[in-house]
């Protein structure tokens, strides 16, 4: 049964719930730091440990970031809303509830437009609400050492209370076989928008952007089917694979006259399919009620207007504009966006480099290094200002391409700015005419036959002498200058 064939008989409806961990310095309801990778339980206090008598106070930056996300997703911002307690018993929250929002989300009814295969699709946004992250549990013990055999849990509450924004789409019907690609494009667009706001580093592999994918199938003309929710979808590629595998799995059940049960499933990164998760035999009963310890949120319309006015250019619009300015193909721009290079190139140009020069380093040498080390381009060790300075040295003729690469290596290794690395490593192009003339004369003297040919007008033979000069100057001469000098000395 091919995927295409399935889509002739069934129509998928998808929905996505995305969690974004905000990059605030402190937690949502207390002043504990949010540094990643700290020793366990060292960023905790009476509030996030739920010690008796501790009272939460909302972090203004968390409220502001949520409103900005809502505005960027074309949402209405609530004039008045409350936080709510979502009650459940599990050790990842010491309070026995998660502070969240229920029937009064901060932002509602927006949309995001995404482009797939040149066609635009509008994804409706149901709501954007603010909540808090949970602690991290580590299950240990048991004979097999596996999760299912675990006898106890070890808990670190450093993450408990970090602000989390949940973005829920409306159900999206009518995508047909493109459903998996549109789902992926939506998450990518969402990531770019949130990154442009500077409110989160939105790194799926580090869990600061997490995605749950809902999928259902129905026969044409019939009502929407029962949906399943797939969790554990931790990369853009997995979003696409999760939707596709659920479509295939559900169609198999429906073809045999079976029924789809509403359930939570887990995406398997290795196999690309989904497995059943927690059973829903005990229907979730969170007993939501308004959080009495936090006062209602009533964003001042003037503040919201100010935040709206301060929104950055939409990433898709910005990419289209920069693509034209930089004279890039759509494919190049796409790969620059995927590599996270757009802002870096932009800043490099702002620091004085030409678009071609800036692109060359970020998409070439530096992208290669980032790939090799599996790190983000932004973490490769060179700043836009340094790349611009490097390109300037090339443009001024102080570095040729080969030398510039060596200088960049020094910059990335933390040896300083390009000019400093060039000086320290002695990499500057030999422009000292005296030294260069001496090297040229030496090459002419050592190769009288070739010199004679050149004197006779066989200019092409100069290449061999250029090579000899480059060798004596250890590659630090400008090849064109050497060639011109040779021709001048030989009167050709």
């Amino acid at each position: 049964m091919s995927y295409e064939e399935i889509l002739t008989r069934y129509e998928p409806v998808i929905g996505l719930e995305t969690h974004v961990e905000l990059g605030t310095r402190t937690k949502m309801f207390c002043g504990c730091k949010t540094d990643f990778g700290a020793e366990p339980n060292t960023q905790v206090c009476p509030v996030c440990l739920a010690l008796p008598g501790a009272l939460p106070v909302a972090n203004r930056a968390g409220i502001e970031a949520t409103i900005r996300i809502g505005l960027a997703l074309n949402c209405d911002i609530a004039e008045w809303c409350r936080m709510a307690r979502k009650n459940y018993f599990y050790p990842d929250m010491p309070k026995n509830f998660q502070t969240s929002q229920y029937d009064e989300p901060l932002c509602t009814d927006g949309y995001v437009d995404v482009t797939v295969d040149g066609k635009e699709y509008r994804i409706g946004i149901e709501r954007v609400h603010l909540e808090e992250d949970t602690g991290k549990t580590l299950h240990v013990g048991g004979a097999t050492g596996r999760i299912h055999g675990a006898t106890e849990s070890l808990v670190d509450y450093n993450r408990a209370g970090i602000p989390l924004v949940e973005i829920v789409t409306k159900p999206v019907p009518g995508l047909g076989e493109l459903a998996p690609e549109v789902a992926k494009a939506y998450v990518a667009e969402l990531r770019d928008i949130i990154r442009s706001l500077g409110v989160s580093d939105v790194r799926m592999e580090q869990g600061s952007l997490r995605c749950d994918v809902n999928t259902s199938l129905n026969r044409p003309g019939e009502e929407w089917g029962t949906r399943t929710e797939t969790k554990n979808v931790n990369s853009l590629r997995s979003v696409e694979r999760a939707v596709r595998s659920e479509i295939i799995r559900q169609s198999g059940i429906l073809d045999e006259g079976g029924k789809i049960f509403q359930e939570t499933r887990h995406f398997q990164e290795t196999t690309g399919d989904t497995r059943p998760g927690r059973s829903k035999e005990t229907a979730t009963d969170y007993r939501y009620f308004p959080e009495p310890d936090l006062v209602p949120i009533a964003p001042d319309p003037a503040w919201v207007a100010e935040l709206r006015a301060g929104l950055p250019e939409r990433p898709s619009a910005k990419r289209a504009r920069l693509r034209l300015e930089w004279g890039m193909s759509e494919l190049d721009m796409q790969s620059a966006a995927n590599a996270g290079a757009v802002e870096l190139i932009e800043e490099t140009i702002a620091a004085g480099a030409s678009p071609a020069g800036a692109r060359k380093w970020w998409l070439g040498e530096l992208a290669r290094r980032a790939n090799e080390q599996s790190i983000d381009l932004a973490e490769v060790g060179a700043t836009p200002a340094q790349v611009a300075a490097l390109q300037k040295l090339v443009d001024e003729g102080k570095l040729n391409d080969k030398l510039a690469r060596a200088v960049l290596e020094g910059v990335v290794a933390g040896e300083g700015d390009p000019a400093a690395v060039m000086a320290a490593r002695g990499l500057e192009v030999v422009n000292d005419t005296g030294a260069l003339t001496a090297a040229v004369d030496e090459a002419i003297a050592a190769n009288p036959d070739i010199a004679a040919k050149i004197r006779d007008g066989k200019v092409a033979a100069a290449g061999a002498l250029v090579g000899a000069v480059m060798k004596t100057t250890r590659g630090q001469a400008d090849a064109k200058a050497v060639r011109d000098l040779i021709l001048a000395r030989l009167g050709a």
Partner: protein, 99 residues
């Protein structure tokens, strides 16, 4: 009629992970019933035009700035824990819950 049934009390006990005996179910159901009936009397005076109250003081927008304040040390954080291991709280595994 009782405001809360014995089954509802059993359900709440399960959600709270409390082991409640049959005898206690009867006792708690009776006690909770008295509380709920008392609270229900509020409904008798709450008219349409009176909005539900979640906060007794009409305050909004109480925020703090995003500035770190000192946290507890790991030892302090774990000092009240019944059990700890390598800087983490150690708790019995909750059965029948997700991984």
């Amino acid at each position: 009629m009782a405001a809360i049934s014995r089954e509802e009390v059993a359900h709440l006990a399960r959600l709270s992970r409390l082991a409640v005996t049959e005898e206690e179910l009867d006792r708690f159901a009776g006690q909770l019933d008295v509380i709920l009936q008392s609270v229900a009397r509020v409904g008798e005076v709450a008219a349409e035009e009176i909005p539900p109250t979640s906060h007794s003081v009409p305050l909004t927008n109480v925020y703090r700035d995003d500035v770190p304040t000192p946290s507890l040390t790991q030892d302090e954080a774990l000092s009240g824990a019944p059990d700890a291991y390598e800087g983490r709280f150690r708790v019995p595994r909750i059965l029948d819950e997700e991984d």
